[in-house]
């Protein structure tokens, strides 16, 4: 039976849209308590779905687990209770530094239930990336696994605010260090009744970190009211229905993994599944077949990798359960949209949004014509434009490139950058929120992505700051100077490329290249690791000594170098 799309008609929704629709559906009363932890567990149970499966979990090793919404309620209560007993309280920052294990998902809600702020960090981060973010947020506790303890131990002595390192899978008989505490969920008595902290609409909820061109990563502050946007966009864009089995492939270390890997689907009472493993086309298709995934939200890099694996692999699995496909993270190329239509019988629907926006802003909707390669149109209630980069006024002509901007005021919009009001203020001009991305709008209102308006590198949907990588490179004993730019890549869209000059007497060779690569991977993260290192005698600089990244970038992209009048002479 064909389902009526949740959005029914995009055009009709535009005519009479109001966010109060979601407010009413969620039963939220203005000024009253709103707590995402409660909405994603207790409320679903109260609606009669306590025994419905909330999570199917599978690890690479074959461990399979399933949890009902009542399990989610109890486990998040239990974790919340444990945190309270440690003395943690509302507005404390509590970091999640774990692989995609069930404890990660339950802890996310448990932290919110005590009114504290969740700080999810990608578990592949190196110690330096971890340190910068914990230090910036003055994080009071971190919940982690023993496999990540060495990284935490390496930096915890430099973090005076970090009081507790909570380990969810300690080895029996192995002692923990001074500030480390064991918490084994299945050995802890379940907490049936838990007093949820009375958070309000503007109470802080989640603190995700994102990278910019300059400076250190910024903590993007979200509030409990973000639920309104996340609930409705999950319903209308991802088209989640009661009987769907939903798979969001994003890691909750990134905003997609929380907004649409936890909050959106669970506030709707949807069953979702998680595969905690690396990428493999065979394993992914097998997972879809096994769990009968009907709604799939993934990333262009993964889709391009699946394309590379070939049509034959697809044909050896029964993927007939798939009903709706969406994509996020980078622009989805038209070839991928056309390919998915051919092999899955369904085209991927591209979506565009950012850590700062908290929820989907531009999308292709079920029932609306897809123009392959286009980002789609703004979500109802979202005013999206492209601005002239000089005047910051909306560009009236179709097809002209400008800066993507939104009129502030949607519920999930960030409320600030942690401890950095100046950077936050810089994101607004003439009453518009500037995304830092460029696009054009065609004569039918479809947005077409062009690229970033800054030097930030988007690799497989992850933003990497060239500044952060350059700074880390300078800490390598052989490196004198560095410049980092994006390099085009068939699968990841962009990858990190580093240009370095070496200290006197250091001979450039392949051994050193490998050493520098691994140095950055361990320190920052795998995606920040340069995929190519080019040794140079000198870097292009202005006469005032500033490295001209754009000259190097232009070379990588085969573009015109542009004005080089300020380039220093040889």
């Amino acid at each position: 039976m064909r389902l009526l799309p949740d959005i029914v008609s995009y055009e009709e929704r535009l005519k009479s849209f109001d966010w109060s629709l979601a407010v009413t559906e969620l039963g939220y009363v203005k000024e009253d308590i709103i707590n995402i932890g409660w909405y994603c567990s207790d409320r679903i149970c109260l609606k009669g779905n306590a025994d419905k499966i909330a999570l199917y979990y599978e690890s690479f090793g074959g461990t399979e687990k399933s949890f009902t919404f009542n399990d989610v309620r109890l486990t998040s209560n239990t974790i919340g209770n444990f945190l309270i007993n440690l003395g943690l309280k509302n507005e404390d920052r509590i970091c999640l530094f774990m692989d995609r294990i069930p404890e990660l998902y339950f802890s996310f809600l448990g932290i919110l239930k005590i009114g504290a702020i969740v700080q999810p960090l990608f578990s592949a981060f190196g110690d330096e990336s971890l340190y910068i973010r914990l230090e910036n947020a003055q994080t009071r506790a971190i919940i982690t696994q023993r496999k990540h303890l060495p990284k935490v131990r390496k930096i915890s002595h430099k973090l005076p605010f970090l009081e507790y390192v909570i380990v969810v899978d300690p080895v029996k008989g192995k002692s923990l260090e001074k500030n480390e505490v064991a918490f084994i969920l299945h050995e802890t008595p379940s907490v049936e009744d838990f007093k949820i902290f009375p958070t309000r609409a503007e109470s802080p909820s989640v603190l995700h970190y994102t990278s910019g061109t300059t400076g250190q990563p910024k903590g993007v502050e979200h509030v409990h009211y973000s639920l309104i946007s996340q609930y409705l966009t999950a319903k209308w864009v991802l088209d989640l229905h009661d009987n769907d089995i939903y798979w969001c492939t994003a890691d909750p270390g990134w905003v997609t993994g929380t907004s649409y890997g936890i909050i959106g689907p669970w506030s709707l009472g949807i069953t979702q599944c998680v595969l905690d493993a690396g990428f493999s086309a065979q394993a992914w298709y097998k997972f879809i077949e096994k769990y009968k995934v009907s709604v799939w939200y993934t990333a262009p890099t993964a889709i391009r990798s699946l394309m590379k694996a070939g049509k034959e692999v697809v044909e050896s699995f029964d993927l007939s359960s798939l009903r709706h496909l969406s994509s996020v993270g980078e622009p989805l190329n038209s070839e991928a949209v056309v390919w998915s239509g051919k092999v899955f019988g369904k085209q991927f629907h591209d979506t565009f949004w950012q850590t700062e926006t908290g929820s989907i802003m531009i999308s292709n909707y079920i029932g609306m014509k897809i123009k392959p390669g286009s980002m789609g149109k703004p979500f109802p209630g979202i005013v999206g434009v492209v601005l002239d980069p000089k005047t910051f006024e909306p560009v009236p002509e179709p097809g002209k490139v400008g800066l993507i901007a939104f009129k502030p005021g949607w519920p999930a919009m960030m409320r600030g950058y942690w401890n950095n009001h100046e950077k936050y203020r810089e994101k607004f001009v003439n009453g518009w929120y500037l995304t830092g991305d460029k696009a054009s709008i065609d004569n039918e209102g479809y947005f077409w992505f062009i690229g970033r308006d800054d030097d930030v590198i988007n690799t497989a949907g992850h933003l990497v700051s060239p500044f952060e990588v350059e700074s880390a490179l300078l800490e390598h004993p052989a490196v004198a100077e560095s410049a980092v730019v994006a390099k085009p890549d068939e699968i990841n869209m962009e990858v990190v490329k580093a240009f370095v000059t070496l200290k006197p007497g250091i001979i450039p060779d392949k051994e050193l290249e490998l050493d520098i690569m691994n140095f950055i991977r361990r320190k920052l993260s795998p995606m920040a690791m340069p995929q190519e290192i080019e040794y140079m005698d000198k870097l292009p600089k202005t006469r005032s000594g500033k490295i001209m990244r754009r000259v190097l970038r232009a070379k990588e992209w085969g573009e015109e170098i542009g004005d080089v009048s300020t380039l220093e002479d040889d």
Partner: protein, 86 residues
């Protein structure tokens, strides 16, 4: 340089991967442990693994051969290396 035997080659790769990628000292990998598909080694690291193999065995592996499937176990990696290691 004297040509290494298969066991020596496998152990060299195993030691490198253990040192670089296994965060938990209690974890162990074997020649058949899935690396990329398990998540032990991320897909971004395939390039550094390729550089390691080329440096260690003094070979050149075409980028097109460095796929997640070819790099998924130490046995498969060595099978790939054997095509170029003479």
């Amino acid at each position: 340089m004297e040509k290494m035997n298969q066991d020596e080659m496998k152990n060299l790769v195993l030691n490198y991967l253990t040192k670089e990628y296994l965060e938990d000292v209690d974890e162990e990998i074997t020649f058949d442990t899935p690396l990329i598909s398990s998540g032990y080694v991320d897909s971004f690291s395939m390039i550094s693994l390729l550089v390691f193999l080329e440096n260690t065995f003094k070979i050149k592996i075409p980028g097109s051969k460095a796929t997640p499937e070819a790099f998924d176990t130490i046995n498969r990696i060595i099978a790939l290396v054997n095509q170029y290691y003479v």
